[in-house]
Subunit: 254 residues, 2 copies
C-alpha cells in the first residue's frame, strides 16, 4: 500500500520476466501503481498519476514498445478528478483508458465512477475489451464489450468476494469470449485479496487458474479468433438469439 517505488520495482521485474518469456499480452491487477486500501481521498491523490504522462504509465509504455500489449489498473488523476482506471498500451502507444463504472465498497469516497461504455480496442489484429474487478458482478458489462466486438476481455482486479472466478466462466460461456482476470494476493490494511488469477475460454474452459497465494507471471497460448464462433449449438448464436425488445427494462433510468 502506497509504496509507489516498491510497486514500480515489482512491476519492472514482472515486465522483464514477461519479455524473457515472450509474453505478448500482459494483464496486471487493479490499482497496480498505488495499492487499493486508501484511508482518504487525499491519500489516494498523493498516490495517483496522470495517464500516460506518469512514471508508472511510462514504464508500461516502454515495455509495450517491442510488439507487446500491456493492460494495468492505475490510480489515475485527471485534473482534480480521480479514477480507478485501466490503461492499455501497445507498441508504445496508449490504446485505451477505462474509468471503472461500478465502484466497490468505499471506492466512491475517492474515485469518480466512469460514465462511458467500457472500451474495445484493436491490437495485433484482435479485439480486446477492458473491465475492472467488481464489473464482473454486472453481466451487462461483459455483454456490452462483446457486442462491441471484444474477443478477449482483459480484467485487472483486486478481488475480495469469492464469486468472481466462477462468474467469469459464465461470462465466457454466455458471450463466447476469452477472459483474463489478473487478481491480487495478500493483505493490505483491513482487506485480504483472493488471488486465483485465471484465463477462461469461449467454451467456458478454465485455461489457467493459479492458487490463492501464487504470485508471478502465468500465461497460456490462445487464438482470439476462437471467440468469433458464437454458435453455442448448431442452431443457437449467443448474440443473434438475443431479444433486445424483451430486455427494455434493463436500460430504463428510474
Amino acid at each position: 500500500m502506497g509504496d509507489l517505488a516498491g510497486n514500480m520495482r515489482k512491476v519492472e521485474s514482472l515486465l522483464g520476466s514477461a519479455k524473457v518469456n515472450g509474453v505478448d499480452v500482459l494483464v496486471l491487477p487493479e490499482l497496480a501503481n498505488s495499492g487499493y486500501v486508501f484511508n482518504s481521498r487525499d491519500e489516494a491523490i498523493g498516490l495517483s498519476e496522470e495517464v500516460p504522462a506518469g512514471p508508472f504509465s511510462k514504464l508500461l509504455q516502454t515495455f509495450s514498445k517491442q510488439d507487446r500489449l500491456v493492460v494495468s489498473g492505475i490510480c489515475e488523476r485527471e485534473g482534480t478528478n480521480l479514477y480507478n482506471s485501466a490503461a492499455a498500451l501497445g507498441n508504445g502507444k496508449l490504446l485505451a483508458t477505462y474509468h471503472k463504472v461500478h465502484l466497490f465498497n468505499r471506492e466512491g469516497e475517492w474515485f469518480l465512477p466512469g460514465d462511458k461504455e467500457p472500451p474495445v480496442f484493436e491490437y495485433g489484429g484482435f479485439k480486446f475489451g477492458l473491465m475492472i474487478c467488481f464489473d464482473w458482478a454486472f453481466p451487462e458489462m461483459a455483454r456490452v464489450l462483446t457486442l462491441k466486438g471484444a474477443q478477449v476481455i482483459l480484467h485487472p482486479a483486486n478481488l475480495v468476494l469469492p464469486y468472481c472466478q466462477n462468474a467469469m466462466i459464465t461470462r465466457s460461456v454466455e458471450n463466447r469470449v476469452f477472459t483474463a482476470t489478473a487478481n491480487r494476493i495478500g493483505r493490505e490494511r483491513s482487506m485480504t485479496f483472493s488471488g486465483v488469477s485465471q484465463v477462461t475460454s469461449p467454451r467456458g474452459e478454465v485455461l489457467v487458474r493459479v492458487g490463492a497465494m501464487d504470485e508471478g507471471l502465468f500465461w497460456v497460448d490462445v487464438n482470439p479468433s476462437d471467440a468469433d464462433d458464437k454458435m453455442i449449438t448448431e442452431y443457437n448464436h449467443v448474440l443473434n438469439d438475443r431479444r433486445p425488445m424483451i430486455y427494455k427494462r434493463l436500460t430504463r433510468v428510474s
Copy 2:
C-alpha cells in the same frame, strides 16, 4: 417421448409424494406433459394441450388447490400456435403463463418464441419469476425477473449443455435471488438430458444439487425474503449500483 398417459401417471405420483411431504412450491421440468424431442410440428401439435383447459393442466390445478404452488413446463397449444410454456398454478388458479423467449436447437421448427417479458407473480406473500431452460444463457432474463421483483426464479429445464448449473449460481449472486432448476434426466431419441436439478441461494450457495441420474422429489426450506437483501457488500446494492445509461447498447434493436 410422446407418452401423454405415462407422463401423467408419473407426474401424478410425484404430486402425491409432494403432498405427503408437505412441499408447498413444486417445480417440474420443461415440456413435462409431452417430452422434448419432436420429429415434426405435427407431432408436437398432437402432444400439446390448452392451458389451463387441458388434462395435464387440470392435474396440476387439482394439486395446487390445497395451498400449493406448482410450476411446470407444458407443450401449449393456443389456437394454431404452439409454445414451449411454463404454467404456474396456485390455490387452484392459473397465476401466470410464460412462453419461452429463447428457443433452443430445433425448437423454432415447432414453437413460436414468446414475445413478452418473463412474468413475476405473487403467491403466499412472495414473488416468483419464471424462465425456461436455455433462458439461463441470457443474463438479461434473470435480471429482468429480478428488476420486476422476483425473489425466487422457478426454472423448468430439459438441459443438454453442461454450463447451466454453474451459470445459475452466478444468476443468483448477481441478482441476489433464489433459483430452482428442475431438470430432466435420461435419454430421448437423439438427446441426453443432464439432470443435476438444483436450488441456489442469493449468496450463491447451492442448497440442493442432485445427481445426473437422480429422479424424484427433492426439496429445501427457504425464506424467499432473504432475497430482499440486495447488499453484496456494506456499500454495494446489486440493483441500485447498476448504470442503465451505460448499458444502452443492450436494448438496441439492429
